[in-house]
């Protein structure tokens, strides 16, 4: 913790921007929840509600040309990196306007123009890919940073181990962002590892490890900006463990039988989105009118995107055969 105390806090402008992102992420997740529950539309998704502060802080710390690797629970990460909502929703709902023409679905959204290089459905598998992206940046001599987002569960995979070791060994410009939401699928984190802090694993690889309150945008900004700056200036990778909570279970529809009602209520009482809003108002960073405008704008943006996607066409059937290979000659049927 002491490492990040020396980092300057974010400016008012940056704080406002983080709240804008959080409001949009919350509205986007809420709209999906509502739409699926009422039968307005159907899609599978892995909700990120409750974890908004992390990608909001990351979003303001990264440059547009910095890259992100994320997971199937990536809605908030994608919004934080600037992927247009219509492309996110479009992909989730199998429309041609989706980021990947409806071919990848919720789990596999990529938008290289926004720096989102990979969303993976395989827990832990994104970290090796992030290492490669960072390796490419170094080969090209650009000071680009690669951030990779993953959960607590991923840190128990062999892929994480191999990639973290390699990132540290080669001193690559990677920021490893662990969104520890205290559950790996349906198993609480304390049942999946002997140690208490994911950040302590960093020592074993020879990289700095930081644990931060994943619901506090200002603390996150400090920790992530330091890690990003370290990577960008050639100082190598950092493991940033951000402790948070997920309000809607592993997949949408998860009855969360494995989380006590008390625990969930307590977590929802610490909801980072209204908490940050209240803090901004109390600190005089934003007026209530301004915050209302931000909330309304988020809602409007989300509703507009949903309508655009519902009006959009599914991909044409010819799309099935496209892009197995660069060219289709002698491709098996």
């Amino acid at each position: 913790m002491s490492m990040t105390d020396s980092q300057p806090p974010p400016s008012a402008e940056v704080q406002r921007r983080m709240y804008e992102l959080m409001a949009l992420m919350k509205a986007a997740d809420d709209r999906l929840s509502k739409g699926i529950s009422t039968g307005e539309f159907m899609c599978v998704y892995w909700p990120s509600r409750g974890q908004e502060a992390i990608p909001a802080a990351l979003g303001v710390c990264l440059r547009p040309d910095d890259q992100l690797v994320t997971t199937y629970r990536g809605l908030h990460d994608l919004v934080g990196k600037g992927v247009p909502l219509v492309e996110i929703y479009g992909e989730m709902m199998g429309r041609e306007v989706g980021a990947c023409r409806g071919k990848g679905g919720t789990m596999h959204i990529a938008r290289p123009e926004s720096g989102v290089m990979l969303s993976t459905g395989i827990v832990g598998a994104g970290i090796p890919v992030a290492v490669g992206l960072a390796l490419a940046a170094r080969r090209k001599g650009v000071d680009r940073v690669t951030a990779v987002s993953f959960g607590d569960g991923a840190t128990n995979t062999g892929s994480f181990h191999e990639a973290a070791n390699l990132a540290a060994l080669w001193e690559l410009p990677v920021v490893l962002v662990c969104q520890n939401n205290l559950y790996a699928e349906m198993t609480p984190v304390e049942h999946t590892m002997k140690i208490d802090r994911v950040a302590d694993r960093a020592l074993g690889y020879g990289m700095p490890g930081v644990r931060v309150d994943g619901n506090d945008p200002i603390a996150l900004y400090r920790a992530l900006s330091e890690a990003v700056e370290r990577a960008r200036s050639g100082g190598g990778p950092t493991l940033v463990e951000c402790v948070t909570f997920r309000f809607r279970g592993h997949y949408f529809g998860d009855r969360m039988t494995y989380i006590s009602k008390e625990r969930l209520a307590e977590a929802e009482g610490n909801d980072p989105v209204p908490a940050f809003r209240a803090r901004l108002a109390a600190d005089g960073v934003c007026s209530n009118e301004e915050l209302d405008r931000i909330d309304a704008a988020a809602l409007a943006q989300v509703n507009e995107a949903v309508q655009a996607v519902l009006d959009a066409a599914p991909p044409p059937v010819e799309e099935v055969a496209r892009d197995v290979f660069a060219d289709a000659e002698n491709c098996p049927a």
């Binding site: 990848g104 990639a163 892009d323 197995v324 002698n330």
Partner: protein, 326 residues
Amino acid sequence: MTMSQALNLALDQALERDDRVLVLGEDIADPAGGISGITAGLSTKHGADRVLDTPISEAAIVGAAIGAAMDGLLPVAEIMIMDFIGIALDQIVNHAAKLRYMTGGRTPSPITVRTAVFGGRGTGATHSQSLEAWFMHIPGLKVIVPATPRDAKGLLTTAIFDEDPCVFVETVALYAQRGPVPIAADFAIPLGKAEVKKPGDDVTIVSYGRGVIESLSAAANLEADGLSAEVLDLRTLVPLDVPAILESVSRTKRAVVAHFATRFAGPGAEIAAIIGKELFGQLAAPVERVGARFTPIPSAPALEAEVFPNAELIAAAARLTLGKND
């Protein structure tokens, strides 16, 4: 030159001509130059930042290659021994093979994974396998298995610059084999083009990799009995040169598919099914398949020889199609 030299030259020339090429793997840098010396001299000539020694981390090696490829580099990742490729399978199958398709073409992954079959040296069950069938089965991967030094160089060059992920399967038993090799840097053999290594009229032996060498030996054996076998070297399993297979077998009316991979559910099964369907009324005999027996590969040379196919077995299979067995 030898196949080893041909592969080394292909890598050297690729590194020379295109800054995007990167080679990574275990023990590949100098002084070791790779477990079989295939990458000897490359790190000294091209730099340790382009020919990268890695820890024993197959998933990270291939995953890093994939990330670098997504960003526009042309990485060549080595999996030292094909039996180790299981550790990297997730990255190969779930990322490399699928990225072009599931991102709607936005982030393809043009990696080359070089790996080597160590079978036939008594190294035992976890260091001897031919696993190319696994990769044929995954849509989005190209699978290449050269049998000669010339093909090794030409196909590796093509693989490195191919826009799709390629699994390039080398065979240690063939590394010392000598043959003529075009030394031009731009010498490239297109994927999906089989080659008749020996023309014939009476039976087609379809094979690849080490199987080609044994098939040629079988063909010589058959020739002595006045039987004319055509040996068709597939060179690539995906894309598969179905037109060449059908062209040959429609002439000879008989086919043997031979490979060192396990016969059961091996690549030969797909090829035999294609021949059987497309040429059903024209075949003079059922398609024969020759492959390794359905066992883990034993270490003792006397036992290993029982498991792997050889020229005699291939010739016997050919005779079976010709109704000439005793």
